[in-house]
């Protein structure tokens, strides 16, 4: 069985068990809440739509993490990149709206602008990575933290919309088109699935994808095989940044139409978690992302009803990642060989 499939099974199983434990400990009606968690998404279209809608940016972030991690660049800048892309998209969309551009142009240019902004944020990391990959982890983390502070400051300060009490930027009207009016889902999940397919094809079926994977494993080996190591040392970091940026732009343009302070909500960190669950295989990212989004959405729903606290999900996620990364939970299917 594939490592990623094993991890998804472990994640699903541990999620089911941990959730039950949390329900039993923290809820007065544990089995009712547990059933709500499992059944409600299939009976309430609105919840199902929210889960699918929220999965899309997480998938894109997960793909961004994969492209960076598989190239051996362990960048932790995702959170800051998503947040900066959100701000860039919102500001640009608002500006284009004021300039009376059409909604289509507003949407396309704001998404492109936000995405590129996150890509630009990757440049310092890419430069560091191309000289010394070991430093990427620390530099990217510090950069991400700095970006989060700066964006927070901008939202609360010069870019704040003072017409209401929200600590948020001014809203804009343009929204991503929806796939079908009967099931009002934006095209974001479609974009995420296409990106997954493209990345899966790149890594599994193109020489460049295989070369990049081998470079990520062993840069000296890749150099000795004459692979384009200089390109591999920085391009994946930029692509990772662009994917995080696209995720941020889609979050803003799909439903919110503005950026609220703290809106990235740990998506960059969750993306690292789902990349771990998917064992860096793009094909498994949608499943892993769906699992995390389902947990988040349903906890929000049940906590709104006053059943369990939202902070419980953080503990559950941490425990799932602990199970995933622990060697002792890896199971093997072995054939018994009779003694000769």
């Amino acid at each position: 069985m594939h490592k990623a499939a094993k991890r998804i099974i472990i994640a699903s199983f541990s999620l089911a068990v941990l959730l039950l434990v949390v329900c039993v400990i923290f809820s007065k009606q544990p089995f009712q809440v547990y059933a709500l968690f499992i059944i409600k998404p299939f009976t309430n279209m609105r919840i199902l739509r929210t889960i699918i809608e929220n999965t899309a940016p997480l998938i894109l972030c997960g793909l961004g993490v994969i492209v960076m991690f598989r190239s051996g660049n362990y960048s932790l800048a995702g959170e800051g990149q998503v947040y900066s892309a959100m701000l860039g998209t919102a500001v640009l969309a608002r500006y284009l709206e004021i300039q009376n551009f059409s909604a289509g142009i507003e949407l396309v240019f704001s998404i492109i602008g936000g995405t590129i902004l996150a890509g630009v944020m990757s440049i310092p990391i890419a430069i560091v990575g191309s000289y010394k990959r070991d430093n990427v982890l620390l530099i990217s983390f510090m950069l991400s933290q700095a970006i989060v502070f700066i964006v927070d400051g901008l939202i609360a300060g010069p870019l704040r919309d003072l017409s209401n009490n929200l600590v948020a930027t001014a809203s804009f009207a343009a929204r991503l088109p929806i796939i079908s009016s009967s099931f009002p889902l934006s095209i974001a999940p479609l974009i995420a699935i296409v990106a997954t397919l493209v990345q899966w094809f790149f890594f599994e079926h193109t020489p460049s994808g295989i070369m990049l994977t081998l470079y990520g494993r062993n840069a000296v080996y890749a150099r000795l095989q004459g692979y384009p190591v200089w390109i591999f040392s920085w391009i994946p970091v930029i692509i990772g940044g662009l994917l995080h940026g696209l995720a941020g732009s889609l979050i803003v343009t799909a439903s919110y139409g503005r950026v609220i302070r703290g809106m990235s909500g740990g998506i960059g960190w969750n993306a690292i978690g789902i990349a771990l669950i998917a064992a860096n295989k793009p094909a498994f990212i949608p499943l892993a992302a769906l699992l995390f989004t389902w947990l988040d959405t349903m906890t929000q729903y049940t906590s709104a009803l006053g059943y369990i606290s939202f902070t419980n999900t953080i503990v559950i996620k941490a425990l799932i990642l602990l199970f995933i990364t622990s060697k002792t939970t890896e199971f093997h299917i072995k054939k018994r060989i009779p003694a000769v």
Binding site: E204, H205, T206, P207, S208, I210, M211, T213, L214, R217, N218, V220, Y221, A222, R223, L224, Q225, G226, Y227, P228, V229, W230, K334, K335, R336, I337, P338, A339, V340
Partner: protein
Amino acid sequence: MKELKLRSICKEFHSTKTKALIDVSCSFYAGSIHALVGENGAGKSTLARILAGVEKPDSGNILIDNKEFIFHNKRQAEKAGIGFVPQYPAVAKNLFVFEQLYLGHEPTRFIFTNRKECIRKSHELISTYGFSVDPLKKIADCSASEIREIEILQALSNNINMLILDEPTTVLEKHECAKLFQIIKNLRDSGKIIVYISHRVSEILELADTITILRNGKMLRNVEAHNIAKIELSKIVAGNIKEEKLQFASCNANANSVINVSHVITKEGGAGSLYDITFEVKENECIAIVGADGNGLESLENILTGFEKPKSGLVTYYGKSISSYTIKELYGNILGYVVSDRETRGLCFHESVLYNCLGKKLNTLDYKQCSKKCRQYAAKLMNDFLISGTLQAPIETLSGGNRQRLLLGRVLTENCRILLFANPFQGLDNSSRNLFCKKLVESYIHRKTIILLTNDIDDLYEIPWSKLFVLYRGMLYPYTGSSNSLSMEMLMTGVLHA
């Protein structure tokens, strides 16, 4: 421990669908050296790893003094008195020797490591067994034979009664081997069981009291060493006997110069540095440079492949400085290179056999039918060079011999104009060595330029050399002797007294 018995040991690796051991039974006795011999993939290392608790058998028993034992890990085997020295050194280079010797069971004072006691015990251990390594030396500064000594001492520091040595001479030179053999004999005389794994017949006959011959995972024969002759053992082990003769080929004096190394001096002073190295390799020439460890062979390998820049001097390929080539030009089209450091530079660990087979082929493929062509290419490579295993299995599941065959096969099938081989036959048995020598000669016929860098005299036989050099203390000497059969000592003295 007086006796250790293995009864009907079976082991299959599911990832590669390889039956590594099939119903192997044998006994090891105190005060004797028991050799396990066989070709690459015979199951020698697997048997050793089972004895050492690194692998678990699928079935069968391990009996120590008629008491059954099951080892789930190496620590349990050590507690039962079994020490294991693997084929390739597994030491932490940033540690001091005394730290490595007691790694994992350091002497303590309360909860803290007692370094003074550790040093004292290390001195005691070294003098007890007659070793010569300095416990206060950094492991990074130790020679290959000193590292072997450290590994043996590390095993002995656990008060073991049985020592398993898996091809301990792979990384050693001849003179270092002699020293190691004396140490092994001393250990045998002190009443320990020694299990010695090798495919080198001469070593086996020099050391062993009892020999167990393995082939394709089965026990072929169990014989007393004094009852078997070298020729007979060679025939049983490899099915053929190697003729040890140096061959020389004439070269075309008018041919174009391909590689030019002029007055190369490396940065560092001391052991391993190069002093004023100058040589030229012409088109379709086949040259060999032989040298013992610590004489600069590693530096020369790094200089010739562009991994290290010389302090002064110049290396040119086809008249152009090596540093002016792009990575793709140099490694992709010009230089086919079998590295001496197979594990960190030559292979991509944790990736599949398939990906490791592809190497430079990936530079020439387009995305259309990439998967299909990759598989076909890898399958052909495995078939042509007798690499056993499955394409999807991780590379680390292959035996050492199979890994080396993959490395050699990959370079020999690449379309590079210059082939550089650094210790290319490490860990290979005689039949594999013969196969690759043949392929190398074919490459030479196909007008490729070949450079061999080796610390093993045996690598020089069966290939017609245009020139032969000896690297000694960082200086290069041309070999002009006429001897057809030689040793490292002969080569060195022959050069130095010329």
